[in-house]
């Protein structure tokens, strides 16, 4: 069975992953790891103040963001390799502000039969018990979804 695992840099995602591996994973499963990467906040330009285009700042931010994503990919790739799990990583930069849609699009594309994700991640609104991304996925997925709580 092809399983889509949605991750971000949070601990919840990592714990969900470990839990999945220990309790649900079957050897014949193929994991598609998705990180719906959000484009980092780029400083806006203040023309009134006559500031120069902050290209250095932007470059730095992009580089940091890419490094974080790489680190994330490495972490999960290593976990899979260690346990000899068949997997692939799907990095979507397409619709950065809509991770929920990205997750479902990849699931569709890859023909996944199940989605696994944490209930909350690194999103900004931390008050809710169920993050906006898992909420979106649960309401719009056409396949079974496992949500792992905090």
């Amino acid at each position: 069975m092809k399983v889509l695992f949605a991750v971000d840099g949070s601990e919840i995602a990592e714990k969900a992953f470990d839990w999945y591996l220990e309790n649900v994973h079957q050897d014949s499963n193929f994991l598609v790891i998705v990180h719906g990467r959000e484009n980092p906040q780029i400083p806006t330009l203040n023309f009134t103040e006559g500031a120069a285009f902050p290209s250095d700042e932007i470059t730095r931010i992009m580089k940091e963001s890419n490094q974080k994503v790489d680190a994330l990919v490495d972490k999960f790739s290593m976990k899979c390799s260690e346990k000899k799990i068949k997997f692939k990583v799907a990095l979507e930069g397409g619709k950065p502000s809509k991770p929920g849609e990205t997750i479902l699009a990849v699931a569709d594309q890859e023909g996944c039969e199940m989605i696994v994700m944490g209930s909350r991640g690194l999103g900004t609104i931390r008050r809710t018990l169920l993050g906006s991304v898992s909420d979106y996925v649960i309401h719009h997925a056409k396949i079974p979804v496992i949500v792992c709580p905090v």
């Binding site: 309790n23 079974p144 979804v145």
Partner: protein, 152 residues
């Protein structure tokens, strides 16, 4: 791993159960099938109208209710036996809302995961995600598998 599967008499619940068994179940998992039935609506007594206590009506409703519970228990007992799953079946009537009862049950039996369908037999059929699964998703302390797509 102890898995609590919340069912009702609907098709969706049955498909969720089958899907769980086919794709997720591992030998050694213990399955706990539960149904938290809401107390059925019993007719109120209108003393003003001088009506007598509707004992027959109440009797009929309770018998019906218990019959459904027994049918459900039989259905799932048979399934578990035919799939050779280590199991326990608990069909009970509760004063709590089903969502609350399911979460309580999960804690009581130390379930490691809850499995349920998206929607069951509830009255409000317009929603994509039923109120019970919605509640459980928001309040469960353990992973929840929402089985959907089996009815599409």
């Amino acid at each position: 791993m102890k898995v609590l599967i919340a069912v009702d008499p609907s098709d969706i619940a049955e498909k969720a159960f089958d899907w769980y068994f086919k794709n997720i179940h591992k030998e050694g998992n213990e399955v706990y099938v539960c149904h938290e039935a809401e107390q059925p609506d019993l007719p109120t007594v209108f003393f003003a109208g001088g009506a007598s206590f509707p004992a027959a009506e109440i009797g009929r409703i309770m018998t019906d209710h218990n019959k459904k519970k027994n049918e459900l228990e039989n259905t799932y007992t048979m399934k578990c036996k035919s799939y050779k799953i280590k199991h326990r079946i608990d069909i009970e009537t509760t004063q709590d809302k089903p969502g609350v009862a399911i979460c309580k049950k999960a804690e009581k039996v130390h379930a490691n995961m809850i499995v349920m369908g998206t929607r069951g037999m509830g009255a409000i059929r317009r929603t994509v995600l039923g109120s019970v699964s919605d509640y459980v998703l928001h309040h469960s302390k353990v992973p929840v598998l929402i089985c959907r797509g089996q009815d599409q």
